[in-house]
C-alpha cells in the first residue's frame, strides 16, 4: 500500500509537484497518467527516494523513508523507464546481487527468477553482460530483478515501450500475479488502451497536480463523459488548459 499525502517537491527549491495526494491500495493496479512534463517521473523519483519532498509524506506499507529507510526500501521494487545496469556484472550476478541486497531466500528467489528468465527467453544468457543487450532485453532484466523481490509495492515506469508484444503480455501476467498476491502496483504509461484494460484505478496528473483520480467510472463522471474511453478523458483533460 502506497500513501502520498500533500506531496510538494521537485528539483531544487522550485516545486514541480504541488499538493499531490493519492493512494494505491493493496491488491490493486493504479495507472499514473499525464502528458510529458506533467510530473509522473518526478512523483516516482520522490517515491523511490531519489528526490526529497519539500512538504508532505510518502508511506509505503506503513514505513516512511525518514523513520525506517531499510524497511521502506525492502517493501519497494522499481522498474525504471530507461534500464541502467551494472556494466561489470553478468546477468546471473545481477540476480545474485538482488538476492543479497534484499536478503532473499536463495532457493525460492532463484526458482522465481528461472521461471521469469524462461518466459523472457533469457535463460541461456546468464553468463552475459546485460549491459550489451538491447533496450528491451535490459528492461526484461530489470523486470526479473524487481519481480524476484518480496516487495509490497511495485513501481513500473512506462513499461510498454521497447518491450516486444510477447514480453508486454508476460509482464502484465506478472503484474496481475503480484496483484493477486496482495501487492500494490503503480504503473506510469502513455499506452492508454492497455492501462484502461489492466488498471483498477487511475491518477491523472496535470501541471504537477492531481487533476482527477479514481476508477474509470469515477473519471467518466468527473469529466461528464458517459461512454468515454480513457483516451477520450485524457484528451478532454489536456484540452482544458488550452481553452
Amino acid at each position: 500500500m502506497l500513501e502520498i499525502q500533500q506531496l510538494t517537491g521537485g528539483y531544487g527549491t522550485v516545486p514541480v509537484l504541488k499538493n499531490v495526494s493519492f493512494t494505491v491500495p493493496d491488491g490493486t493496479i493504479t495507472g499514473l497518467i499525464g502528458l510529458n512534463g506533467a510530473g509522473k517521473s518526478t512523483t516516482i523519483k520522490h517515491i523511490i527516494g531519489l528526490l526529497h519532498p519539500l512538504k508532505g509524506t510518502i508511506t509505503v506499507a506503513g514505513h516512511t523513508l525518514q523513520a525506517d529507510a531499510q524497511a521502506y526500501r525492502q517493501a519497494l521494487a522499481y522498474v525504471p523507464e530507461t534500464p541502467v545496469l551494472y556494466p561489470e556484472l553478468t546477468l546471473k550476478e545481477h540476480l545474485e546481487l538482488t538476492i543479497m541486497a534484499y536478503d532473499l531466500d536463495e532457493k525460492a528467489a532463484w526458482a522465481r527468477a528461472h521461471d521469469m528468465l524462461r518466459r523472457f527467453r533469457l535463460d541461456n544468457k546468464l553468463d552475459w553482460f546485460p549491459d550489451n543487450f538491447s533496450k528491451g532485453m535490459k528492461q526484461k532484466v530489470m523486470i526479473v530483478a524487481a519481480f524476484m523481490t518480496d516487495a509490497q509495492l511495485f513501481i513500473i515506469d512506462e513499461p510498454f515501450t521497447g518491450l516486444d508484444p510477447l514480453a508486454v503480455h508476460d509482464l502484465l501476467a506478472l503484474v496481475q500475479a503480484k496483484k493477486a498476491a496482495g501487492a500494490s502496483v503503480l504503473m506510469s504509461t502513455h499506452i492508454l488502451a492497455t492501462a484502461q484494460q489492466y488498471a483498477d484505478q487511475f491518477v491523472l496528473l496535470k501541471d504537477g497536480q492531481v487533476r482527477a483520480d479514481g476508477t474509470l467510472a469515477q473519471l467518466k463522471q468527473e469529466f461528464g463523459l458517459a461512454d468515454a474511453s480513457l483516451d477520450d478523458i485524457y484528451l478532454a483533460m489536456t484540452a482544458e488548459g488550452s481553452r
Binding site: 531519489l50 529507510a69 524497511a71 525492502q74 519497494l76 545496469l85 551494472y86 556484472l89 541486497a101 534484499y102
Partner: protein, 403 residues
C-alpha cells in the same frame, strides 16, 4: 576567423582550467613538489659524477629531439566544423595560423626550461656556458617553429613534396644537435636557421591554391584531445571517457573471495567493479609494476621508502573514483542496505589493495638485494596505506557527501 579562434581559445582555456584544477588538487601538488625536489637532487648528484664520455652528446641530442617531438598543433577544431565551415575553407588558413602560433607557446616554455636544465652539462662537454647556451636555445625554438609549420602543412598536402615531413625534420634536428653538442651549438643554430627560413620562404607557394583536408585535420585534433583527456582521466573523471569493462573470467576466483550475503553486498559489488572495469585494475597493475621496477633500480634506502610511500599514495588516490561509479545506477539507491555499509566496504577493499601494493613494492627492493631498503619500503607503504584508508578516505567521503 580570428574571432572564431579567440572564442574557441576562450572555451578551450575554460575547459582545461577546470580539469587542471582537478588534476592539481592540493594533495597532488604536495606530492609533485616532493617528487620534483627528489628528482632535482638526484639530477644534481648525477651531474657531479659525470665525466665526458662519447655517448653524452648523442644522448643529449636524443633527449632534446624527443622534447622537440612533444607538442602537437592544437587546432581546437570540432567535428561539426567540417560541415559548417566547409564553405569557409579558404579563409580557414587564417584560423590555423593563429592556432599554430598558440601551439608554439607551451613547447617553447618546455624547451627553454630544458635548455636551462642542460646548462650544468655544457662544461662537461667542454663547452662554454656563455657562448653555447643561447645558440642552443634559439636553435631549439627554430626547430619547433619549423615542426609546427610542417604539422600545419600536413593538412594542405597537395603541393608539399612527400619527403617534407616532420619525421625527417626531427631526424635532421637530432643530427644537428649531436654535432652541436660535439663541436658547438652554433652548428645546430645554423641548421635550424636554414630550415626555418627556407620553409617560411616557400610557405606562400606551398599553401597557395592548396585545399584544406578537413577530415584528417579533425581526426588529428580529436586524437590530440583524446590523449589529453585520457591523461586527465588518470586524476579525475572525464565524462564520456569512463573506460570499458572486460569480463576477465580468469579473475573470477579473486572475485569469489568475497562471500555472498547481505552484509557483504557492497564488497561483493566493489570487488567486481575493481577487477572488471578497465580504468581501475589496469591502472593498479601498471602503477604497482612500474613502482616495483623503479624501486628495484634505486640504491638509497630513504629514496626507496619515499618512492614506496609515493606510489602507495598514488595508487590509493587513483582508486578513489571507484566509490562513485555506481552513483548513476538507480538500483543502488533502492537496495535496503544499511547506510554505513558502502563506505566500510570501500575502505576494506582499499586497505587490502594498498597493503598488497605495499608488499609488492617492497618486493622490488628485495629483488635488487636491498633488504634494509625493503623493510623501509614496506613500513612506509603500510603507513601510507593505513593513512589513506583510515584518515584520508573518510575526509574525502565527507567532502563528497557535502556536495
Amino acid at each position: 576567423m580570428k574571432r572564431l579562434w579567440r572564442q574557441r581559445l576562450k572555451q578551450h582555456a575554460k575547459g582545461q582550467f577546470k580539469y587542471l584544477q582537478l588534476v592539481f588538487n592540493d594533495h597532488f601538488v604536495l606530492v609533485l613538489v616532493i617528487l620534483l625536489g627528489a628528482l632535482l637532487y638526484g639530477y644534481s648528484q648525477v651531474v657531479k659524477t659525470l665525466t665526458a664520455s662519447w655517448w653524452l652528446a648523442p644522448a643529449m641530442a636524443l633527449v632534446f629531439s624527443v622534447l622537440l617531438a612533444l607538442g602537437r598543433l592544437a587546432t581546437l577544431t570540432e567535428p561539426a566544423d567540417a560541415t559548417f565551415l566547409l564553405p569557409k575553407s579558404a579563409e580557414f588558413s587564417q584560423y590555423l595560423f593563429k592556432a599554430r602560433r598558440y601551439s608554439l607557446l607551451l613547447p617553447c616554455v618546455v624547451l627553454i626550461f630544458a635548455t636551462i636544465a642542460a646548462l650544468p652539462l655544457l662544461p662537461v662537454l667542454k663547452l662554454s656556458v656563455l657562448t653555447a647556451a643561447l645558440p642552443l636555445g634559439v636553435a631549439l625554438l627554430l626547430f619547433k617553429d619549423s615542426d609546427l609549420w610542417l604539422q600545419l602543412l600536413a593538412f594542405y598536402p597537395q603541393r608539399v613534396p612527400r619527403w617534407c615531413r616532420r619525421e625527417l625534420l626531427l631526424g635532421v634536428a637530432f643530427l644537428a644537435l649531436w654535432a652541436g653538442f660535439w663541436w658547438h651549438p652554433a652548428i645546430a643554430l645554423a641548421a635550424a636557421l636554414v630550415i626555418d627560413l627556407s620553409l617560411r620562404w616557400r610557405l606562400g607557394d606551398l599553401l597557395a591554391a592548396a585545399e584544406l583536408m578537413w577530415v584528417p585535420l579533425i581526426a588529428a585534433e580529436s586524437r590530440r584531445m583524446g590523449r589529453i583527456y585520457r591523461f586527465y582521466n588518470l586524476f579525475t573523471d572525464v565524462p564520456g571517457l569512463g573506460g570499458g569493462v572486460k569480463r576477465r573470467r580468469y579473475l573470477d576466483g579473486l572475485a569469489k573471495l568475497v562471500p555472498r550475503g547481505l552484509p557483504h553486498t557492497w564488497q561483493w559489488l566493489f570487488v567486481r567493479g575493481f577487477l572488471r572495469r578497465t580504468e581501475f585494475f589496469g591502472l593498479y597493475l601498471r602503477l604497482v609494476v612500474i613502482g616495483a621496477l623503479v624501486i628495484a633500480l634505486v640504491d638509497q634506502w630513504w629514496l626507496v621508502a619515499l618512492l614506496a610511500a609515493l606510489f602507495t599514495y598514488m595508487i590509493g588516490f587513483q582508486l578513489l573514483p571507484l566509490y562513485q561509479v555506481y552513483d548513476e545506477i538507480v538500483l543502488t539507491y533502492l537496495y535496503p542496505l544499511p547506510q554505513p555499509q558502502k563506505p566500510q566496504a570501500f575502505k576494506h577493499l582499499l586497505a587490502v589493495l594498498l597493503v598488497i601494493a605495499a608488499v609488492v613494492l617492497a618486493g622490488g627492493a628485495v629483488v635488487s638485494g636491498h633488504f634494509l631498503a625493503a623493510a623501509g619500503a614496506l613500513a612506509a607503504g603500510l603507513i601510507v596505506a593505513v593513512l589513506v584508508a583510515w584518515w584520508y578516505l573518510p575526509i574525502r567521503l565527507a567532502k563528497l557527501a557535502a556536495r
